[in-house]
Symmetry: C4
């Protein structure tokens, strides 16, 4: 990758980006497409470096359910083994003769205890089996307490239900051009007081050293009162813009990254939610403009927002 020789000297450097400036100790993107910082923590234990609760909130639904089911299965296998070791003769009602059947009945007794179903056709007798069942019932109830919390956490976690266009465009704007990207809500949410901030991150040579430089890209409109349709963020490429005079080839060859930060008040959660993304220069299309993504409904009574057209653009000559 190449670095830009000389950035527009009129562009204002942003010093409080929160990223390190020493480019040589920096690898890859600043921010991943998903909005997470491209940083790995080391020198700290795995369990200390993650918040397992939030990991459980953020994994996809199917993974979450697989983990729940696996946990259920493994815990009961574990307790079944203990009952088996204690001796199934201490479980009244077990009438199995083969080893496998005995283990199976211990397993189902374990499940009936863990879930507190407790039919009672199998029941523990003697101190040891009763004690293990007492521990298991407590463990079961606490497990479901945690599961309840996780389910609720997954539902209620404030999330910005927003999508960003896959590409940013250098499009005609006024008499010149502008960097444009588009964002749209996609759920039945009420979003208000949206505010966006766009920052350009670039590596530059300075006194023989590679340094990360950040530039705030001023927006034509950085706030909107409500975010109900798509919102096209426009950075006018004026003579003060760090993008001034960049050519199609520059975008293709130079290593740069446009960081996007959007915060908005969500009525549904009654809180401010934040969404981030970034566009590497390779994701910027030079000479294109977005095509409209909403239209009047056939009965003229509503407006239809075509979420699937979020990234729809057409090539234009600049």
């Amino acid at each position: 990758m190449q670095f830009l020789k000389k950035i527009n000297s009129k562009a204002k450097v942003e010093s409080n980006s929160g990223f390190g400036s020493n480019a040589s100790s920096y690898g890859g993107r600043f921010i991943n497409k998903s909005g997470k910082a491209n940083v790995k923590k080391s020198g700290i234990g795995f369990l200390d470096s993650i918040s397992w609760y939030h990991t459980m909130l953020n994994i996809p639904r199917w993974k979450f359910l697989v983990i729940v089911v696996l946990f259920y299965f493994l815990v009961n296998l574990f307790f079944a083994s203990i009952y088996y070791l204690v001796g199934v003769e201490h479980l009244n009602g077990v009438n199995a003769t083969s080893t496998l059947e005995k283990y199976g009945q211990a397993f189902f007794f374990s499940i009936q205890t863990f879930t507190t179903v407790g039919y009672g056709h199998i029941s523990p007798s003697g101190f040891l089996a009763s004690f293990v069942a007492a521990v298991e019932a407590l463990f079961g109830l606490l497990s479901f307490a945690i599961a309840t919390g996780l389910f609720y956490g997954r539902f209620s976690k404030p999330t910005a239900f927003l999508l960003f266009s896959q590409n940013a465009l250098v499009a005609p704007f006024g008499k010149g051009t502008g960097l444009m990207l588009r964002v749209t809500p996609y759920k039945n949410t009420n979003l208000s007081d949206a505010e966006a901030k766009i920052t350009l991150g670039m590596v530059q040579e300075e006194g023989g050293k590679l340094v990360n430089k950040f530039y705030s890209l001023e927006l034509e409109m950085a706030k909107v009162n409500s975010l109900t349709l798509s919102w096209t963020l426009v950075h006018p490429i004026t003579e003060n813009s760090p993008l001034f005079n960049l050519s199609k080839e520059d975008y293709e060859n130079i290593d740069g990254e446009v960081l996007v930060f959007l915060k908005v008040f969500d009525d549904m959660f009654s809180t401010t939610v934040v969404k981030r993304t970034s566009y590497a220069f390779s994701e910027i299309v030079y000479g294109a403009k977005f095509t409209p993504m909403f239209s009047k409904s056939s009965d003229s009574d509503r407006t239809i927002l075509h979420v699937d057209k979020l990234n729809a653009f057409e090539k234009v000559q600049l």
Copy 2:
């Protein structure tokens, strides 16, 4: 509907309303009476376009309960069918002879498993029935975990317990007139730091094209420290107002909409809550004023707020 020929040129246009300006691709109201944007999302799967959790929070209580009961019934019908297919002879204690009775006993066994009541007068025997019961008990517990979360979510969802008057009025104000609408809290809440914003949305012809134009309507008082009684929002119709010189007929014939946005800190939830509504021009009463809606209690010790008089007004000559 007609469009206003010429809007007061002194009125200041608001560019960051967040609504699209292209009127021809816009249908119906901007915002529904309930405060929701009048927009339908398309091009996205149904499940992706809604947040089912928040849908469950927002539906009326009776619908929610019907869904819970239906779910309970259907899930148990489903599991009853499975037990029936597996064979009720694998359920100890089932003593039915007819098909219907067998199915009924399987159904109640299913319920006793799903709810983890597990009386045990019916109990599974053999691997298959025990396995289905194990799955059902897990499913039951997770279902109630989700129900717990939904109930809690329904209770605790921060909501602005505010009502807006059904109509907005053009009423005498000072030496001229003002656009007035009224809002009142109706629950045992403590609301403070209320802030309102009113925007006029109108369609206008501009260069042969229909465009949506928005105008911020300045309020005589846009903030109050606490919201304990009714609050009458007043937009003085001065010569800078976009409503200046509009006649009774204009309100009747012209297509316009007044968007209201109110945000307030609620002590009960310790968070900021938001409430929106809108008034189509047809909902604006020209020549009327609100009548008082609070009075001293008979023992002079409290103030009575008559919530039912929120929209009470009397006709006046302007």
Copy 3:
């Protein structure tokens, strides 16, 4: 009560207090000592006028527990009656002969179903009894789901653990006097960014009509970075103060009220919490000053905050 003839004309009126100005339709205090507005809602159904959830959160612990236990008892009496009406002969294991015993066994069966304990020594047989038990088990689980939500709500409700001094004082301050009141945290909380606002509410004659007038009382220090000890709020009674030249007799005879509003960020809840109170003029002590309420611990290693001395003051000559 008397009204002040002539308020200091230099005092600045506050128009956005959010209280009505028409004194004749106003009864009693503006705000109760507890901080709640002294307003009763009418013209709205009881259930619509309260948020039952938040009522359950705010009632004292013992009341909450009494309600829970009563609910448990009454619901089970209800279901016991239904089982009794259906006929206890449909409950296997009931071996009672007297009416009372039958009812008692139906009651305990009901409890075992409602709580999903389901020992099974009594179990339903036949469609009707099984059906009632199925309904009760669902109802029981949902009830405990709601109870879980209520308990969690009671724990986690953000609350400002702050106490205000019972009295406000007119105390020596600088070369003149000041209105002082004191506030202190009393729990193991970390409070920061505290901000106070004090408003004077008074009834005055204006053009032959009684009107409520509000005046913002400027504070010597309206914000503190952290609230770890007591904080004495001081309004210097300068010549611009509406309290300027008020005598001891005025405070005794005149009907006035000092409204206090305090907001602070609580680390424990990670949210801003709000606390309000008010001082009627009869609660203002003229000629007194607060005595210190914290001291060095005996080992000089900590500071002791004497919460019980919050209202401790001594009389002084003004």
Copy 4:
């Protein structure tokens, strides 16, 4: 400890620190290393002085689990005693002969009731035993409701997952020196809009009395847009700084404390979280600078943040 004779008169005093100014009634640090104020409340009942819920949230995990298990054990011992007193002959299915065995079976029956497992091989008969079991089942369910709430509270409590360097440094900065300390996130969180405030607290003689004086230490950069790597807070020791002209010996001998307050928006919780700490002068290293704590990953694709190097510094000559 000694007190500084004469503080830089150009330094601006901060009056709204929220700490008391009377040094003689003040003991030890202002703020503990953990960020909690070094204050003990007295004159208030123990239960009123703590929020037991938040105490349960903040204790370490193992302590929390020990409390849960102990509670489970003790409650069941208690109920077992009651069943024993009522008479185990009222528990059908108890076949024990010795006192210990009887008590043991009552204990396990209690557990099966408390957890609502209710196998039913032991079941209550008669009013008294049934009544105790009814009470216990309710108590059990409510206990698990509370446990569910506590678990969820522990997971979901908004916490600033930030670490501060153990030491603050007086390091070379520009042409002079600066007070530096370092902070780093250590979990998989997304932090934005970080804002820091640093205050110096010192005891000084004023008119023969010891008073606490506070000075705001201005930061070179008090805000960063995102906090993804380490952030070095720098207070330039200019001629306006209260630290101007302090020597190595002063830091060693004088009693001073640097209070740090950091607030940041956490995407994970969608709320602002706060973290505090303090550095006593004895924790300030004079003549040292931090060494870098992040580097490029071996595949150049990510940046590695070495959390364990947070406090790494090397001595330098000032």
